[in-house]
Structures are given as C-alpha cells and as structure tokens.
Subunit: 357 residues, 2 copies
C-alpha cells in the first residue's frame, strides 16, 4: 500500500537534489523526512515538499546552503543555517549538543537563519539514541494563533519535543505543538463536513467557534493548548512564548512578532534550540534508564477508561505506526502522490513511487 | 487589609523556627513563601504551613535538615535535601545552576530527598534576576491525575516554571501545573455550589464530569492540560511525564508511580530539577533581553477579545498582585488566620498577624 522506506527516502532525496541541494544534505534531509512518514506524522514528512516547492520558487530557500557552526564553546554551539531548509542545520545543532553533553555533561545549540526543519521529535530522539535527554524547540513561519484573551494572530504552532532513553528502542518521546490542535486536523473536519469540538478555534473577534471554516476562510485563529480561558489556555500560550524565547531570542533569529518576520533578505530566518543532558553525570546511566522504563511501564499499566484501549506513553503511537509501515510500506494519498509526481517532473527528478492506485 | 511583607515573612520564619528549623533555613524558606503570597499565589505560600504542620507531626519532615551538594562538576550539582522542606534545597539547587551557568554558559542541579518547595516560579525567577533563562520542575506527593485515556490516578499536578529576563523588573515568568486546573479551583466551585467547566474533572471511571464533588468525594481525578482526548490532553499528560523524568529520574528520587512513593524511611523523597542558561554565550546579553522585552510588548499589544481586558504575558498578573499587596498588605482569609494562630500557639511561636477582622 505504499513504497518501502528506502524507496520513499530516495524519492525525497532525488527531488531535493534536483532542486540543487548538495548530495549529503539531501540525504540527511530525506532521512529525517522519511523517518517522520514512517512514524505516521504525515503532516511533516514528504507532504511538506509541496510547501518547500513554493518557497523554492519564491526564492525563499537557498537549496545550496551549507549550515555551519559560527561560534562555540565547551557547552554550546551557535549554528548559522545559511538560509536553507532546516533539517541539515537542525541535525548539526543536535549533533553539537550531544557531543558537548557527552564531554561536559550538558550541551546546547541555537540555530539561526534557518527554515522549517520537519518534526521536532526526530532531533529529540537523536539525543535519546545517544543515551541522553533531548529538548528541542523551533519558531514558526505561519502566524495563526491568538494569545489567550486576544483577537489577533501573533504566534505560530510553536512546537517542542522532549525525549529520554528508557527501555532500549522505546524512548519516551513527546513531540507536540503548543496549540490545541494543528491546522490540518481542522481541515480534516471541514473535508468531512463535521463541526470541530469546542476549544479548537476562535473567530476573528477572539470568540469560541466550532465551525472549521472559521480559521481558514474567515480570519479566525487556532487556540493555545487549553482551548479557552476556562480551560487554562494561558498555559499553552505561555509554553508557546517559551518556545519562541528559546528558539528565536537565544539565536538572534527574527521574532514571529517582528514586522520584519519573513521579510529579511537572507531568507526565512527561523530559529531552533537544542539541548542534550547526559544523565550519567548525576547517577549511573543504566539506573536512569531503568527508572524511565519503569515509569513508562507503570503509566502503560493504568486501568484504561475505555476497555481494550490501553493507556499509552509519548512515542508509543508513533512506534506502532512505524512497525506497521515497515511491514506494509509508507502510504501516500492519491492527491498528494499526483502533486509530488508533477513536482518531480518539473524539477527533473526521477520518479520512484508509482502511480496512484 | 493584611500585614506588610516583612511582618508576614517574620510570622512564617518564627513558626518554622519554632518547629526546629535552623535560623538561616527558616529565613530563606520564609522569604520564598512570603514572595509567593505577595505575588498572589495564595495556594503555595503561608497557607501551606497547615499542610507542613501535618507532615511535621507525622514525622515526615526533618526540620533540622541541612541540604548539601553531594556531587558536582563544572556544569552540574547533585543536591541532597536531607529529608527537609524543599525550599532551602531548591534555593541551593538554583544557586548552583546559576553559578555554573555564569562560569560555563549553562548549569543544572538535580535535588533528591526533598519535599514540597512552594512555587516553582520563585526559583525560575532567581535565574531571570541573574540575567539568565531558568527552567524548574518538581515531582509531587499527591497522586491525583489520571493519564490521558486512563481511569486510575498515577500522576501529580507536576508543575514547571520557565523564566527569561527582558525589561528590567519585568521578566517573562511562566509557572504552571501541567493539569488543566489545580484542586483548589475545583474546591472553590464546590464551595460556591457551581458546576466546573467541562474538561476539569474525570469520574473514577475516567469519564468527563462537571460535578466538583467528583474528585474529592467520589474517587475521581484531575485532568491533564487539554482536559479531554479531543482537547489534546495527551499533551498535558506528556508534559507531566517530562516533569517527572527531569525531577525524579535524574536525581534518583522515588517516582510517583513507585509503590514505595512516600513510604521510604528517609522522608518524602521528592525530586526537583533546575536549569540555568546564560544567553550571553550566544549573543550580547542586552540584545537578548531587548528581544525578550520587545516580544512581550508585542504580545501585550494584541487586540483584546474583550475590550478593556488587555492581553497579558506570563508574570504580569502576579506582578499586578505584588504591586497592590506591597501597598495594602498581604491578606489572609479569616479561617486560615485562625488555623495559623492555633498552629503558632501550639509550636510556641510568637504571633504577629493580629486577629481576624
């Protein structure tokens, strides 16, 4: 029902290469994007090529970019993304943070002059695979969220990811937007002709709405996690601000509230932040992992509210997707597949994914 | 309408001293608790003395405790709380993190063998006052939250705080439980005979409820931020797990899911985590502060959904409380005042707060 992981990844790499991305960066980016699709996060994998295509055509993404460390010390690195797609810059950032944490106990990297880097979870998971805690945040390009109590878009979906190694191959891996839901889930409701649950949306006057067309067509906003003032949306709003402070203010990237946001000559100037903590400085690494594993197992063992629907831990649903897709291939919906085929043909990239079923 | 800050603080210190806390620790603890009341966080200041009193009487808090650093390196410190109240151990932890960040760029402390430390925000604010980003988490004693999709309490309110210096005297300061609301707000609804908004509560079978008596009297649970599966409560649940991993797993404190939770001979064994980041390693500190200040001001400038109710930034509501209470004194409700007077008399502490109005 879809290509195998290797073919899927090669398709992505070939399109990126055809756009002028150096081979190593294309391979490293395709690896992130294919991992994301494998784990069921369809919003942040191959589907993003249609968005990147628009940025490339608009001259907003330097495909020839070579991200590099422009300043560093024993516990930090400052990375310049060179105006390119965020994935290579983000991998470099987390690699730096991990290397420094391995030597010093903790390490961090701030990245500026970057762009969309896909799913935060990939980079947090890099830390967990190295036996460390990982924390990742990124600023956003799209302004679509009103601060709690506001009637004007000021923020993005402003995601964060946190990972910790536990049972081998089963890290704790939280990857979340700080909004109640992403725009894609609202679009899905609209496509099905269904109302949204209360708390997902605001009208352009900042009033609650359940009409999925509100945000897209009538100038409304997404809500911060919590959904309403009574549901403590000031907490999701606060987390969103935290994400911007870490991602943009530390690196010196353009703030989403800056009138120059997305208008600077060098590119999109999105910022990211990466933190790695080596638990072995506090206690034997195996004891730490055993505690994380026991904690996750205790949570999984909670009596479920709906019989037969076990309680899961962050990372479990994505691992279930990955297991199935490793067996069955990675599905790409027919409409998207057709768009990607057009896009490959336009760029002169070879086509590997076959025809829509 | 209440004592001035100094008198309020002296009352707290005198009761702690009467319980056997060494003078310096009593002063340092009273400073945290009085700051908390000054900033309007009434749930975590002097009112907690009635809870601590029960722990002292039950032999669960070593008032003579002297927290100390038991292991350290250039970027980390491991603190043992010695089975005492958490405030002195937490201040020591954040002091260590800040000192290390000042020298190395980033610093962290894990605290074990501790207890309730009051409001997370106090310690995060210490970092902001030192010109740094602060992140603080703590594990909890009370098991009262069901994981998303669960029908069994497994977690606590599991708070986190994040601070960043911006305009002098006006840091960004987020201090939040990872639950939708705290138990106190549900109790308030019950006292007023009002239902809770949807999303605050679950029945003992994990079903949504708006009856405020549900959690207290009938074995129900608090919800994680998001409130329901449709409201993305798995995100609040994930943040709550993150808080426990940082607070308990790094320090090696007893996990809230451990059958030995609160049963260990040495005390409550709550864990905390403190992180300080020196922005000056990435860019001039003043540029960082100016960006944080501009960002906060842009958020405050958002058109409000309700005219006359300006959009605020994390830390603003608490600063407004502090300004008023510096002028008018710190109010203590009559019922609480009476309990505190009894408690002071029992312990032999002098009484400074006067009689109920």
């Amino acid at each position: 029902m879809g290509a195998d992981l290797q073919t899927h990844q090669r398709q992505i790499a070939d399109i990126l290469s055809a756009w002028g991305m150096p081979a190593r960066n294309a391979a490293r980016t395709a690896e992130v994007m294919a991992w994301t699709d494998l784990h069921g996060v369809d919003s942040h994998g191959i589907s993003m090529l249609t968005v990147y295509d628009r940025h490339v055509k608009a001259g907003r993404l330097r495909m020839a970019a070579e991200p590099r460390v422009i300043a560093e010390g024993p516990v930090h690195a400052l990375v310049d993304g060179d105006g390119g797609l965020g994935h290579p810059a983000a991998r470099l950032g987390m690699e730096q943070a991990i290397a420094k944490a391995a030597a010093a106990g903790i390490g961090m990297a701030a990245v500026r002059n970057s762009a969309h880097f896909g799913a935060c979870g990939y980079y947090a998971n890099m830390a967990a695979e190295a036996g460390m805690i990982g924390l990742v945040t990124t600023s956003a390009s799209l302004v679509q969220v009103a601060p709690a109590g506001g009637a004007e878009a000021r923020l993005g979906t402003d995601p964060l990811a946190f990972a910790a190694p536990g049972e081998p191959g089963r890290p704790f891996l939280l990857d979340m937007a700080t909004t109640t839901v992403a725009a894609g889930r609202i679009r899905n409701k609209e496509n099905e002709g269904l109302p949204c649950p209360p708390g997902w949306l605001l009208t352009k006057d900042g009033q609650p709405s359940t009409d999925p067309a509100e945000a897209r067509a009538r100038g409304g906003y997404l809500t911060s996690l919590g959904g309403s003032l009574e549901g403590s949306s000031y907490k999701g709003y606060g987390l969103s601000a935290m994400v911007n402070i870490l991602s943009a203010c530390l690196a010196g990237s353009t703030l989403i509230t800056d009138p120059q946001h997305l208008k600077k000559p060098q590119g999109m100037d999105i910022g990211h932040f990466f933190l790695a903590i080596n638990p072995a400085v506090f206690r034997p690494a195996d004891d730490f992992r055993a505690d994380v594993a026991a904690f996750c197992d205790a949570l999984r063992g909670t009596r479920p509210a709906t019989p037969g629907q076990p309680v899961m831990v962050a990372g479990d649903p994505e691992r279930a997707h990955a297991e199935r897709r490793r067996r069955e291939g990675i599905p790409v919906a027919p409409g998207l597949l057709e768009k990607l085929r057009t896009l490959a043909a336009e760029s002169g990239a070879p086509w590997h994914l076959g025809a829509p079923a």
